[in-house]
Subunit: 157 residues, 8 copies
């Protein structure tokens, strides 16, 4: 596929379900020219990268700090390259970093898509209001990607 | 053709005539290294994409809202990538979105070309005055693209 | 009122009704710390300023061009200073310059409010979708200004 | 106090405790030249402003949407004016909007200070790592403001 | 006059005629809320400031270099603050610095007005084409300032 | 040569000598990974493109205007893509457009190199002072390109 | 003095001599409309502010880290407001933070002035080359400020 | 390796040890899709490039100036392209240019990694506090690059 038509998306948020794989599968299925980027989704690696690489810390705050900054190298770079930022919120965990990514993306004028169930609508109203659409499932996200990249909404195969 | 010499243009506005196809044909005829992007030009798809993908709405305003935001993902991304934004205005329809795109492009310092007949000159004076040229037909746009990309104004084949 | 709490708004669009005066009156009535700016709203002056100041033109396109560029000095400067851009669309006239201003404001990340009747909703869907709210009358705009500047929604005096 | 030495801060997050009043009181006590801005902190007003001003909505998502966009006019404007953005996270509520504000501020290169208890450190590690300091109480924030605005750390009065 | 309505203009170019004084006089005459800034217009001081302040240079190129950089502190700062940049070109001298200021201003999206006689039109066509108007005399510039700041074109007093 | 190491330069100014060909020849000779872009250097084509493409004008100012704006589409785009902007000034002609390009490039933080003889030093002092080097001949420019792209200053072949 | 003519300067670097007081004295002596800002110059306060305000740290790296981030709130804000950034380098100490401030200022397109003795010229060549002038003493800086703010180089009182 | 996954890093600072070669070797060893850029690291070439290319200078300050500006063409371009800027500080030399590069990178919102021994921690606290991590050796940098580009922290081969 031609590079000039390629889109890059960044998938932020929930790392305990396989929603990223579903979106990648949909991209493959529809042969979309979409390149997927993500934060590190290995929870253990993500939590420990700071001390694993740069040396141990006794104080948990600084252990977290070192790791979060290394992860930020990746996340900031990938959001900077993304045409669209997609953030999934789940019931579990607080996911403040996902909301942080959403705010970061909006300030850079990146189109934002949120994915979450209706039960979270009220809690997420500020982020949804800044987004370009709220999806309830990954299939809807795939449909959006298909529509905006192929410029068609015809029947699915 | 070499990627380093490639130009990308965004064709905004009128979707009920075949002016985009004419420009693409002219690009092909002159073998210009110009990549054409556009909003979704299927009127039905464009109007219904929001509810088709993200679920129905009873209130027309929100149906329009959902669709317009999804279309904006594409339009904003494509204008952001464009070297030149070309907007065609016709007699029919209000085409406020075309004028919106023109303002958006100018604020991003994108060179703007307008295409419309002389009868619209007065109504479009603010947009024409911000543009880098007002064409009366697609052949003039093709000539501009030919001139600025090939750096020559010699006889046409 | 303290300068640090002052807001500046730019009122673009329709110049044949007294909606700007209504908003100014509401600002006075509620003693809001809001400074109103506008394009030149004297239709004759606006249309003729170019040739009146810089000399006559035989070709109408250039007469319009000279005037539109002088008006743009004011409009671009005032939008640049505005905290909020408010655009009113009416049935009459094409008002492409109002839509242009809206696109220009959005690209500069200025909060946009539109005012128009429901009959124009479909035609204005792209601009409404980029806005932070669609008002049906000036009183609603005054209420928004009151709420965002005073941070309260209590009963009106 | 001279306007040239004035600082503006934006206090985002928790609205159910009186931390904003505490910071204002500390600013008064130390006679700091600091101007405090905030989102609308009246929970009811904030939740209902959209439908109160622009008309009712049957669907809760759109009711939230209208309100969140009106609140965003204020929040985006105030963050844009702030020299420092201060975000307080509490145990209660998800406060995704606070995290969104933090990401938005960081993308605009605004210095960020977080306030929260240690029990939230791990959940907030990405935001803390982007911040310029994590305070445990409002008194620490006041001390930071005192230090950075007065350029001294001498004994408090 | 209220600070919120004030305009700042930067007058670049020709320093051997009294066009700046004429514009200032017109601003006074019409009581316009316009603040005038300029480069250093004392030719001797401007040429020698570098070596006068920072010590002598044997090589003329470096003497010029030191002076030009000190002047640039002022010019860059003043253009940065200007709402409108006005550049006067005369027959005498090459005035490449005036053309440089024009390019600098346009890249910063500052409205540009040029002043020169018709005999220079062809040589200045690129700069005029980027400008928002070409005046032939200072009175026309004053009229533009009067119109854009007062938003009226009524009879002069 | 690898695209990741490629440099793009824009050659502005003098169009009546073959300095551009000399730089291109030097790039070929040293096999530098440098892509050369330029304005349209065919004087006749450049002067007439506006009326040739968009229709005749009776008034010379508008003929120039139309042409200059079309040329600006190319020039602005190419300067925007350039890593380095190189401007040659000669004795002949006023070359205000070259000085304009220099100012435009500096405002975009593009490294600027000037080429001219010493006799023009005083007249060009402001532009030279903003540049990253003043060359006296094309061979010096080629040496700079060779040095900054190959990161070596070893003997020439 | 009128606020519209006011200049703000930021004095970075050396904190063990009284060069800041000398510049302030010169500003007073010449009654210049220049507002001086600085980092915290109390060495002890600056080194300890992090742990003094936000609590102790056992690891020196984190003690430094907490303090440096709080100081950065002030420094980044003040550089952001400055029209001109002035950095003094001395023989003593490494002053990497002063060089960091210089790089930060240049990337923000702030005019930079350096002050240091000739013995440091070679070591500071990259920073001097990005500056708008290298002064040897504070009196030269005062003369520059006098010249660029008063636009005159006449005899001192 | 796919261009869409490629990272570009800029290695600033110390030129008298082989730390750049070590990082390149680690990138090769792990087959990372990382493109390395650097300033000119040939000390002699770097010091003399100005006079070698553009002609001799009698005054050492201007010899340094000419060279530093030519080097800046490369350094500024390469930092502008870099995803991550990595700066190594050693005991030897003052390396103010390295600190300048760090400040420049941070102002452009580029993730910064520092490398230095603990003995320099206090002197580098401002730069470390702006960085996304402080490494003690090149192997740690390689581990960071491996982690952020491969998104894994698994056992090394």
């Amino acid at each position: 596929m031609e590079i000039r038509n390629a889109w890059t998306i960044y998938l932020s948020g929930e790392i305990h379900t396989d929603w990223r794989a579903e979106i990648q599968e949909g991209i493959n299925r529809h042969q979309l020219n979409v390149h997927v980027t993500s934060p590190v989704t290995d929870h253990q690696a993500s939590d420990h990268c700071g001390v694993d690489i740069l040396g141990n810390e006794d104080v948990p705050y600084w252990k977290d700090h070192k790791g979060a900054l290394i992860n930020r190298i990746r996340n900031q770079t990938m959001i900077g390259r993304a045409d669209v930022v997609i953030v999934r919120f789940g019931e579990q965990y607080r996911q403040w970093n996902a909301a942080f990514d959403a705010g970061y993306a909006i300030a850079l004028s990146k189109p934002l898509i949120t994915i979450h169930e209706a039960v979270l609508d009220h809690a997420l109203k500020e982020i949804d209001a800044a987004s370009y659409g709220t999806a309830r499932c990954t299939e809807q996200v795939i449909d959006i990607l298909r529509y905006v990249t192929l410029a068609t909404n015809s029947q699915k195969p």
